[in-house]
């Protein structure tokens, strides 16, 4: 077959025809919106009276002076830096626990996994019942023992903590499944060999199990980090970001700016910053951790 011959051309056309439907959908719903968002962040929000105009980095400058942005950014940083390591720690603990021979093991595994199956909205409703003043579960229990409990969700000091607890509860069981699968792929002889050498369980975990789980940990870490930025459904039910933005997260703030304040341009700016941040974190995790991970 000669290059450029009629058969080659027909093959090319055939190939493009096969690719077109998928390419069209990708461009229309992924690539174009991404580029449009980036472009929009350099314009003002257009109205009937004031058509949008190019303002370079004015939106970004505004963002740097926006106290709400910084507050939300700080919230998200706290939220992520607590939920990610804590849910990983719980996931490993639970996975090791349900990997042992224990009675009703299937039931325990299922119980740990249940929060994953529930939609975030349902989870938020459950926890709303826990946190509600007077009639909530927490208040009822603390009241029994004569404690005065704060208005968990109405207090700027406690509200972020409440949201964090919920997120950990929801995520840990999901990540446990990955750790359980990883644990079950470790040969039992390794543990037996270590036992014969007199290694304690903690020593074995620290020197063998944990390093061999690192590929799973990296995967889980990136996923839970992304989750901590993209999962905000519970805020709609529990707090609406309040009080005083004390529980608002970046994506929730973007939603508010775009659909409550109807400032698409500024929302685009925030979105670009969020994406850049996530990309940076993922690249950092890969480059720093990848070298220290043993892949089988």
């Amino acid at each position: 077959m000669r290059i450029g011959g009629p058969v080659a051309i027909r093959n090319q056309v055939y190939g493009w025809l096969l690719l077109t439907p998928a390419a069209f959908l990708l461009v229309a719903f992924t690539h174009y919106p991404a580029v449009a968002t980036l472009a929009q962040s350099f314009f003002t929000q257009g109205t009937a009276l004031h058509p949008s105009k190019f303002i370079e980095f004015e939106n970004y400058r505004f963002m740097f002076d926006d106290p709400v942005f910084w507050k939300v950014f700080r919230n998200n940083a706290i939220y992520s830096s607590i939920t990610v390591p804590t849910s990983i720690a719980f996931a490993i603990l639970m996975a090791i626990w349900v990997n042992e021979k224990l009675p009703l093991r299937g039931l325990v595994r299922m119980a740990y996994f249940t929060p994953t199956i529930l939609p975030m909205i349902a989870v938020a409703n459950i926890w709303l019942f826990f946190y509600t003043p007077e009639i909530g579960l927490l208040d009822q229990i603390l009241g029994r023992f004569g404690f005065q409990s704060p208005n968990w969700l109405g207090n700027t000091d406690t509200v972020l903590g409440c949201v964090i607890v919920l997120a950990i509860w929801k995520d840990a069981g999901f990540f446990m499944i990955f750790y359980l699968a990883a644990l079950q792929s470790l040969p039992v002889e390794l543990e037996e060999a270590a036992r014969l050498e007199g290694a304690s369980r903690w020593y074995y975990f620290r020197r063998v199990t944990f390093p061999l789980l690192m590929p799973t940990t990296l995967f889980v870490m990136i996923n839970s980090l992304i989750n901590s930025f993209k999962l905000i459904d519970h805020l709609f039910i529990l707090t609406k970001g309040g009080p005083d933005n004390a529980s608002s997260l970046l994506l929730y703030y973007i939603y508010e700016v775009a659909f409550s304040f109807l400032d698409q341009a500024y929302a685009s700016t925030l979105t670009v910053v969020l994406l850049a941040l996530l990309a940076l974190l993922a690249v950092g995790q890969f480059t720093i951790l990848d070298k220290r991970i043993h892949y089988r």
Partner: protein, 348 residues
């Protein structure tokens, strides 16, 4: 102080007995092989000596001390696993030194031992590699090094050579044997390979279905098998075990007429054992049979022969030219006969 005693050992799983009332002694500094077909309980026995498996009943003594319920780490035994059980994320050196670090042995001492052991097993140039970067034989050596660096008097091996190719297996066999002698280790070695058992062992414990069939030197087992099972298990090809029919006129090969008579005093249904190499083929005198097939092996040929409904195997020197279906007569001297009763127990 490293004699191993196994006394009436029993292991049960949900009512089935994997090891049934097993007793043997491994004298200090000797090499004992637990031999038997798959599922005979030999690995389970080894794991009970190591402490990795709970004992249902019976006792295990190491160096005169009862360790039946002792923690594996307290028994001062090292072990080589069939899969080698190397830590994949640690280098060869770290793998070898894992146990010494656990036991907090000083760094200077660790280095000294590492150097010595690496020299013994020939791994000096590979200490920085990960297990995945090694060949099967080299991994085997790492496992071996990890077992001897502990300098424990007792070493247990669970089919350590089964993942190697035939040539390497032959080399490692003599290396392990030399090492055991040089270091004076008391070794218990599990295998299903009779060649390993015959060539390495001071003592063989042959097991079947969790029960000990015979304990003895390789020579004992080969020349005086105590049951028909042992006779059939050892030798390549294994011993012929021929069923006899005995009556007032004496004994003959079951299924044959008077021309199949053999000179032996036996009861009806007893078994007669003859090694293939002890059978002579002769066209004129002996028990009549028919050649079925010939396997030419170079130095000799293995001939399958039908005696009535029974089949036997003869091993003859050179290239045997018998064709399939050709009539042949077989004979042997009474001195090479082994006699087993109808239960398979040795009579003479």
């Amino acid at each position: 102080m490293s004699r191993i005693e196994v006394v009436s050992l029993v292991k049960e799983w949900n009512g089935t007995r994997a090891v049934d009332n097993l007793s043997f002694v491994v004298p200090e500094g000797t090499f004992t092989v637990l031999l038997g077909p798959s599922g005979c309980g030999k690995s389970t026995t080894l794991r009970m000596i190591a402490g990795l498996e709970d004992v249902t009943a019976g006792r295990v003594l190491i160096g005169g001390k009862d360790v039946t319920r002792a923690d594996p780490a307290k028994r001062q035994v090292s072990m080589v696993f069939q899969s080698y059980a190397l830590f994949p994320h640690l280098s060869v050196a770290e793998n070898i030194l894992f146990g010494l670090k656990v036991r907090k042995i000083a760094a200077a001492e660790r280095d000294k031992r590492l150097k010595r052991v690496a020299g013994v097993v020939g791994l000096e140039d590979f200490l920085d590699r990960k297990p995945a970067q090694l060949s099967g034989g080299q991994r085997q050596r790492v496992a071996l090094a990890r077992a001897i660096v502990a300098e424990y008097p007792v070493c247990l091996m669970d089919e350590p050579l089964s993942n190697l190719d035939a040539k390497l297996r032959g080399e490692m066999r003599s290396e392990i044997r030399d090492l055991q002698r040089k270091l004076g280790m008391t070794m218990v070695y599990v295998t299903h390979d009779q060649t390993e058992a015959m060539s390495m062992a001071d003592q063989v414990v042959l097991m079947k279905d969790g029960v000990c069939e015979q304990i003895g030197t390789p020579d004992d087992l080969y020349n005086r098998p105590s049951t028909a099972f042992v006779a059939r298990f050892l030798g390549m090809p294994p011993m012929n075990v021929i069923r006899l029919a005995c009556g007032a006129q004496g004994c003959r090969v079951a299924g044959l007429e008077s021309d199949g008579s053999v000179t032996v005093e036996a009861g009806d249904g007893w078994l007669l054992g003859v090694r293939p190499e002890d059978i002579a083929l002769d066209p004129s005198c002996g028990i009549p049979g028919q050649a079925i097939a010939v396997d030419y092996l170079g130095a000799d040929s293995v001939v399958r022969i039908a005696l009535g409904e029974q089949q036997i195997i003869a091993r003859v020197a050179g290239h045997c030219q018998l064709g399939s279906g050709q009539p042949i007569r077989v004979s042997w001297t009474p001195a090479v006969q082994h006699l087993f009763d109808d239960q398979g127990r040795r009579v003479a």
